[in-house]
Structure formats: structure tokens, C-alpha cells
Amino acid sequence: MDAPPDLAAALQRWREGDEAAGEELIRGLFPVISKIVRLHLPRRDDENDLIQEILMKTFSRLHQYKATAPLTHWVSRLALTTCLDRLRAQKVRPEVRWADLTPAETEVFDTAGLEGRTRDSGDAIEARDLVERILSVLPAEDRSLILMVDLEGHSLEEISRLTGWGVSKIKMRLFRVRSHLRKLIHQLGERK
């Protein structure tokens, strides 16, 4: 995930006052930010508003970037922090109830544990809604952590770099989140 050379060059030109380099920077950073926002922000929030907020923050703080790490790393951390702030501001649901699930979500849940079933590509949105519903009872940091590990496949060191948390803290938190998730999914299955 190193910054492509043109991104570093665009940054240099932007700092020298080249306005066109700004567009290159946005084109290069947008996929990185979009991926993080979609992963860490619930769907009910406006994704593009948050991406714009992160890009604005990026440009307003570019003079603080020291190039000790690739630009994409620096921006990823900024994006993740902004998403976590937004998540913290949202209410954590006290519990996830079977009765709250939509018919499509109950179907996704029922078939999730079955082996050898065929997966319909149209189920992705419903599955994502269900994942977010389950995760909505977790604190912001726990929600982001489990997605970074299980969905993105980030190593503990990568997560440490992105979040600033120590590796042992991440391990402990991950253990706790997994136990919590097992309990939630078990309860959901029991309440059918």
C-alpha cells in the first residue's frame, strides 16, 4: 500500500502552489478513503459527505505531513480517526433482537450457517445490513477492529500503525470482541 510515485510528486507540486496537482491528489487518495469509510461507517450515514470532510481535513493538514510514512498511510489514519469520531457520536444499541430483523436479513442469517448452499450475489447488501446490525451493539473501536481483522485481513501491526493502539491492547480487545460476537449471534439464533 505504498504511495504511488505520482502521488508524492503531486504533493510536491501542490505544495509549490500547482492547483492541478490537487486534483491528482484527490484521484489518488479517493479510493483509499472510500474503502475505509465504507468499512467503518454505517450505511445510513452519507458516505460522500464524510469522504469530503476527510479530504478537506487532509488538505488543511498537508503542511503537517512529514513524509516519514507513505502519504496513503497518513491519510488512512486520518480517515479512520474521523470515522471513529463519527461512530462514537452515534448511539450504541443496547441489543440486537430477532424481531428487528427484516425478512431478507432473517433469511441471510438462517442460511449463513448452512454448508454447501449457493450464495446469491444480491444477498451482499442484506448481509452487510445484518453485519452492521449485529455490530451496532458494539463500541465504535470494537466494531472497527473486528472488521479490520476479519474482513480486511489486516495484521495486528498494521492495525497498531493505523490506530496508534499497542499490539497487546489490540489482542485483548479482539479476544473480548470475539466473545461478545459469539454471544450476540448465539442469542440471535436462540430467539428465532
Binding site: I33, K35, A112, L151
Partner: protein, 96 residues
């Protein structure tokens, strides 16, 4: 564990819906760059105002110091008690 299997399956199923976009939406770059230009302009303006404020403050400090020292020097020459001052005037004594 069955719960772990369910969780893994849910994630695998939802993965395509979590994929980010690669194309910048229309108008986003323009809005961001306009905002960045405005911020840059504000920062430059604040810097200019800041330097002017610092120079003005230094000038005020120098002026105040000059006035204080001047008044102090004048007072040093006229710091006799009123009674003694009157005697000095009566006797036409030169006080330096």
C-alpha cells in the same frame, strides 16, 4: 463453533457490499479544492495579520518604554517634597 462459522459466512457474503469506490464522484474534487483554496487564503491572511499584530505590539512596547523612562527622568529631577520645593523657589536655589 457454530457462531464463528455463521459470522465468517456473513462476512464472506457481505464482502462485495463493503468494497470502496474508485471513481471520484462528480463535483467532489471541485468542492474540496475550492475549500482548500479558501483555507489556504485564510491561513495566509491570518499569518499576515499575525505578523502585523506582532510588529504593532513591539512598537507599542517600545513607545511605552520610552514614555515611562522619560517621565521617570523628569520625576527624578522634581522629586522634592512640596515644602522643600517652595523653599528652593523662595531662596532661588538651583536643584538639578
Amino acid at each position: 463453533m457454530k457462531e464463528d462459522q455463521t459470522w465468517r459466512e456473513l462476512l464472506a457474503q457481505s464482502r462485495p457490499a463493503f468494497a470502496g469506490e474508485t471513481e471520484v464522484p462528480y463535483g467532489l474534487a471541485t468542492r474540496v479544492l475550492a475549500g482548500a483554496r479558501e483555507q489556504r487564503g485564510q491561513r495566509d491572511a491570518f499569518e499576515r495579520i499575525g505578523w502585523r499584530a506582532i510588529l504593532a505590539s513591539l512598537a507599542m512596547v517600545a513607545l511605552t518604554a520610552g514614555l515611562t523612562l522619560g517621565v521617570q527622568a523628569m520625576n527624578d529631577r522634581e522629586d522634592l517634597e512640596p515644602g522643600i520645593q517652595s523653599l528652593a523657589v523662595l531662596e532661588n536655589v538651583q536643584v538639578s
